[in-house]
Amino acid sequence: MPAVDTGSTAWMLVSTALVLFMTPGLALFYAGMVRSRNVLSSTMHSLFAMGLVSVIWAAIGYTLAFGGDHGGVIGGLSHLGLDGVVGAVTGTGPSAIPTSVFAMYQGMFAIITVGLISGAVAERMKFKAFVAFAALWSLLVYSPLAHWVWGGGWLQKLGALDFAGGTVVHIASAAAALAAALMLGKRKGYGTEELRPHNVPMSVLGAGILWFGWFGFNAGSALGSGQLAGSAFLATNLSAAAGMLAWTAAEVLTGRKPTVLGAASGAVAGLVGITPAAGFVGPMPALAIGAITGCLCYFGLRLKSRFGFDDALDVVGVHGVGGATGAILTGVFASVTVNSAGANGLLFGGGLALLGKQLVGVGATIAFSLIASAIILKCIDLTIGLRVDEESEATGLDVAEHAETGYEF
C-alpha cells in the first residue's frame, strides 16, 4: 500500500470536517427564516440528515456512487458497508489520501444535499415523511447522480464539468425541492399572512458558517492540498463576495433598502454559483460568476409570488437558479490554464463544446431528480402522508411533531 501524503490528507480531513459543519450552519440559516413555532422542526431536518444519511452512505450509498461502474449509470456493491475502505489509498503522489477520508468527504456532500431540500418543505411536512424521503432520495437519486458526475459515470465520460457539485448537490436538491413544494401545497397563510423570519441573526450566523464550510466544499474538491485547492479557494471567496454585492446593489437599484438577509442570501447565491466552476476558473471570472448569480437569484425571488408553489425557504430560487447559472457559466469561463484537467469554455477558445456538455448535465440532473423525487414523494403520500394536519400547522410543528418548544425566555 503506498504511503499517503500527510499534507493533502490534513487538508482533506479538514475539508471533510468543514463540509460536515455546513449542515448545522444550514440548519441555522433555514431555521432563522421560519416562524418561531417551527424553529426546531426546521432544525431537525438538517440535523437528522447528519445521522440518517451518514449511516445510509456507509452502508450502501458510497458503493453505489464510487464502487466501480455499471454502464455509466450506477456503481457496484464492492464497498458495501465501506468494505475495503480503511487502509486503502485514493489519488497518487502529492494527492494520495486515505480512501477512508475520501469516502467520508463524499458522504458529507450526501448529507447536506438532503438538508438543502428541507428548505422547501418547511413548516408543514410530517417528520416521518421527511425521514422516509431523505432515506430513499439519498439512495435512489443522490448516489446515482454522484456516480454520473464523479464516480466514472456517463456525465463524467461525456466531459461535463462539475467541480464541487453544482449539479449533483444544488440542482438536484432544487429539483427535488420543486417537486416537494408542488406536492405538499402552500403553507396556510401563504400570500395572506406575514410569514416572516423569526430570527435573522440566526440566519446570518448560519450563512457565515456556510461560507466558512464552503471552503472545504469547493477547495476540498481538489481532493488534495496544493495549487488547485488554492485557486478554488480564491474563486470561492470572490464569488461569494461578488454575489453579496450584486444582490445588495440590485436591492438598492430597484428602490429598496439594503437588507441583511439579502446580503447573506447573495453570498450564498455566489457560493452556489461558483460551486461547479471553482477549480476551473480564475479570480476575475469568479467575480463575474458571483455577480451574475447574485443578480439572477435576486430577480428570480422577486418573481416568486407569481408562481403557484410555496418553496418556503427558496431552494429553487437560490440553489436551482444559482446552480444552473454556475454550471452554464462554467462552460463560459473555464480555462485549462487554471486546471489542466478541465477544459476551455466559450471565452477561452473552447467554443460551444463545453457549454453544450454543461447544458446536458444541467438538463439531465433536473429531469432525473424531478421525476424520481416526484415518484418517491407520491409513494410516501399514499402511505405515510406528506403533510401535517391543520391543527398541527397552526400550533406549530415543534410541539406537534417533536413535543418541544424552541424558546422559553
Binding site: E193, V399, A403, E404
Partner: protein, 112 residues
C-alpha cells in the same frame, strides 16, 4: 367609554384586526399572553423526561371604544376569532372612565 379585552388564538389576530378595522376602529393594543383554561396544554419531552405544559400561547387585544360601539366590537371579535374549537378565548368588557391622547391632550372619545 368601554374597554374590551379579548383573549384569542394567536393565528386569529389578523382576521380580528380586519374585522375591527371594518367597524372603523382606529386603534388597539396587543400582546402575547399564556392562557390556562379548558383547552388542555401539551406534553413536552426533554431527554427522556416528560413535562406537561399547562399554558397555551394566546394573544390579548385591548380596545377602548365609545359605549355604543362596544357591543359591536364585542360581536365582531367573537365572529372573527371563532374556530369552534376549545380554547377560542373570551371577550371581557370593562368601564373606562377617561382617556387622553398624549400628543394633543384631547380627552374622552376624541382621544380614541
Amino acid at each position: 367609554m368601554k374597554k374590551i379585552e379579548a383573549v384569542i388564538k394567536p393565528h386569529k389576530l389578523d382576521e380580528v384586526k380586519e374585522a375591527l378595522q371594518a367597524l372603523g376602529i382606529s386603534g388597539m393594543t396587543v400582546y402575547e399572553v399564556k392562557g390556562f383554561g379548558r383547552q388542555k396544554g401539551h406534553t413536552e419531552v426533554y431527554r427522556g423526561n416528560e413535562y406537561t405544559v399547562d399554558f397555551v400561547p394566546k394573544t390579548k387585544i385591548e380596545i377602548v371604544v365609545d359605549d355604543d360601539l362596544a357591543p359591536k366590537v364585542e360581536q365582531a371579535i367573537v365572529d372573527a376569532a371563532r374556530t369552534d374549537r376549545i380554547g377560542d378565548g373570551k371577550v371581557f368588557t370593562f368601564d373606562c372612565e377617561g382617556a387622553v391622547r398624549i400628543r394633543t391632550g384631547e380627552r374622552g372619545s376624541e382621544a380614541l
